[in-house]
Symmetry: C2
Subunit: 105 residues, 2 copies
DNA sequence: TCCTGTGCTACAATAAACGTAGCGATACGC
DNA sequence: GCGTATCGCTACGTTTATTGTAGCACAGGA
């Protein structure tokens, strides 16, 4: 059984697969919320404005399969080394978002 | 009439609004495809694996309203200064995606 | 035992995305 | 003028994704 294909990955261009994965709902948000501490599935749900557990679980499966997030029984969901590395690229987003929100009046 | 709310922006935290906007399908991809030249709506569609024009137009509306993309009659759709600035953060993603795809065998 | 919290799932309803087709407007050659 | 082509964009019916509510099995702790 072929492992679930990341949409848009047909081209074999990894960047497309990545953009697709991150473009699914709550993906970016999850990576963001796990940025500085592990969260249990329910804490994560609270952090994500009570998003439905169905999608969260689906996204967590995607992210775990992509080796960006892992589940550690003792503490909960957390970023893998790879996931943390990816998050580094998003760190400046916070400041950007502030400027962005001011400029779009 | 209040301008269309970006989902998840109820908290007033700009980062959430941004993550939500970028988390819609094709948002990231569009920003990516426009990275180094303007594209007409049809060229953009071709670049995005023939995605349906319905969503593309919807996303382009979102991105234009967010002041990340603009339509210049002579050349087509292109990143605004703000959009280009945002894209800077994604540039390293290309190399990351390469490593990522290798590590997930 | 009972209570609580964990990760996770079922299921019906809603919303988003898809695919195909086509619109009005504009710009060309003839 | 007349066809032809392209532009940005939209209608509409189908499929897929997401939502919201409820609840499962399991593992501690009291």
């Amino acid at each position: 059984m072929k492992k679930r294909n990341v949409r848009g990955s047909t081209s074999g261009r990894p960047i497309m697969a990545l953009l697709d994965l991150l473009g699914r709902r709550w993906s970016l948000r999850i990576l963001w919320e796990l940025r500085d501490q592990p969260l249990t599935s329910r804490a994560l749900r609270t952090a994500c404005d009570e998003a439905s557990p169905t999608v969260l679980q689906a996204r967590l499966s995607d992210l775990r399969e992509a080796n960006l997030v892992e589940l550690v029984p003792a503490s909960g969901y957390q970023l893998t080394t790879l996931g943390r590395e990816l998050h580094e690229h998003f760190l400046p987003l916070h400041r950007f978002a502030e400027r962005w929100s001011k400029q779009r009046a």
